[in-house]
Amino acid sequence: MKVTIIDYGLSNLLSVQHAFAHFGAKTLLTSKPEDVLAADALVLPGVGAFQDGMAGLEKLGLVEPIRQKAAAGTPLLGICLGMQMLFDESEEFGLHKGLGLIPGRVVKIPDTDADGCPQRVPHISWNPLYPGGSRADFGGTVLAAVQPGEECYFIHSYEAKPTDETDCLAFTVYGGRRICAAATHGSVLGCQFHPEKSGEVGLKIIEEFMKSADR
């Protein structure tokens, strides 16, 4: 199968490519709207600032094509900033509109923990995934192969807050508070952690995403 990785100038795409290639997928790195519209499965990676990410997508004319594909049910995986851009809006450096594919907003991680003690931001850590949105486990989702408690690599200063609790597929805990680790809405999936940098656990998620795109 072919996985189309959206390149808008903001990230280490090589690792994302390698992770899909690990399972025999062909990958296409592209900045072109026509490639996005023709995709079987889409990946929106990204690091850096929200407004720069959205500006990059807008400049390349990719916002509408991505929305069209999501509406048509094409599997779409957003990673880190790519996950945050799936939401309605972000508070990073002022209020900025996102892709609006998952209802909710992106807010700064508080600089104190649940006990009021100072905590590190950015949050950089291998942290466990637990089933969110009242799920008992990850069965039937893209995280199906993950055992609750298995750890993935997080590096972020902002966190997404889905409006609808059931859109939170997985959560993790930082400083005694829950953080949405993965969000899903229709065919759209966002991971706050980096599956391509999360060892064997991350690879299982990549593999499952590919399977879901093949079905």
Partner: protein, 255 residues
């Protein structure tokens, strides 16, 4: 809340060889850095840190090929440092598969570079590397060194760390030059002084000889610990170190 740390393997590279010295001097060649990286990945290391240790002397970073080869089959974060002087240098090494860059010399010479890199790629990508040596002239303080511990900057380490964060650094790599390579424990006073002064994660390195040293560093405030000699000379493997860290009451990723 149980303290949790990241365990990082530091791989100092000269030309195409993994090297290790003591207090950054007297380098020994140890072999192919990619082979070491792969082995540590399979043992469950949390992150890799590559430093081209002669790069800043020659104004270039030689690690492109090594990093590119690493990310072929190693799926954990990779941080790269040594000789990176501009946004373009950073863009290039990120395109080769690095996730973050550690910058020391160029940031001391031109601190605005910290802001430029943070604005271009995000703060999480900009790791300020500080080589700290206990100062003879300022009692109880440390001075920041550069050019792999050869040149002194006149900067107080704690003040420089705070300034670096204000300029946009999202993480600090703090190496004790005094303790580096000795495997006799870390400079805990240094770790405490810097981790209390900043609110971003601090990777601490220099002096790890066993799991207990890592526990001490975590309790002094370290968010991540970088190890080299203890792993390179096979005194302990990653799994043994992690078992000892947990036995000491500090959490670390389970594999």
């Amino acid at each position: 809340m149980l303290k949790k740390i990241r365990l990082i393997a530091r791989l100092d590279v000269k030309d195409t060889n993994l090297v290790k010295g003591i207090q950054l001097e007297g380098l020994r060649k140890l072999g192919d850095p990619n082979a070491f990286a792969k082995e540590y990945y399979e043992q469950g290391i949390d992150e890799l840190l590559y430093i081209d240790i002669v790069a800043s002397l020659y104004n270039r970073n030689n690690l492109s090929d090594i990093v590119r080869k690493t990310v072929d089959d190693v799926y954990i974060p990779v941080c790269v440092g040594g000789g990176l002087r501009s946004v373009e240098d950073v863009r290039h090494i990120l395109a080769m598969g690095a996730d973050k860059v550690a910058i020391n010399t160029a940031a001391i010479k031109r601190p605005e570079l910290i802001t430029e890199v943070a604005e271009a790629f995000g703060s999480q990508c900009m790791v300020l590397s500080i080589q700290a040596k206990r100062s003879r002239t300022w009692p109880g303080k440390w001075e920041a060194y550069y050019d792999n511990g050869r040149a002194h900057s006149g900067y107080d380490v704690v003040e420089w760390a705070k300034r670096g964060v204000a300029l946009g650094a999202g993480e600090i790599l703090l190496t004790s030059v005094d303790n580096e390579g000795l495997q006799q424990g870390m400079d805990l006073e240094l770790i405490e002084a810097v981790t209390k002064a900043v609110n971003v994660p601090v990777i601490c390195g220099g002096g790890v000889g066993c799991g207990d040293d890592i526990v001490d560093a975590a309790n002094a405030g370290a968010d991540a610990v970088a190890c080299a000699a203890v792993l390179h000379y096979k005194k302990e493997n990653v799994q043994e170190l992690k078992d000892d860290i947990r036995a000491g009451g500090v959490e670390v990723r389970r594999v």
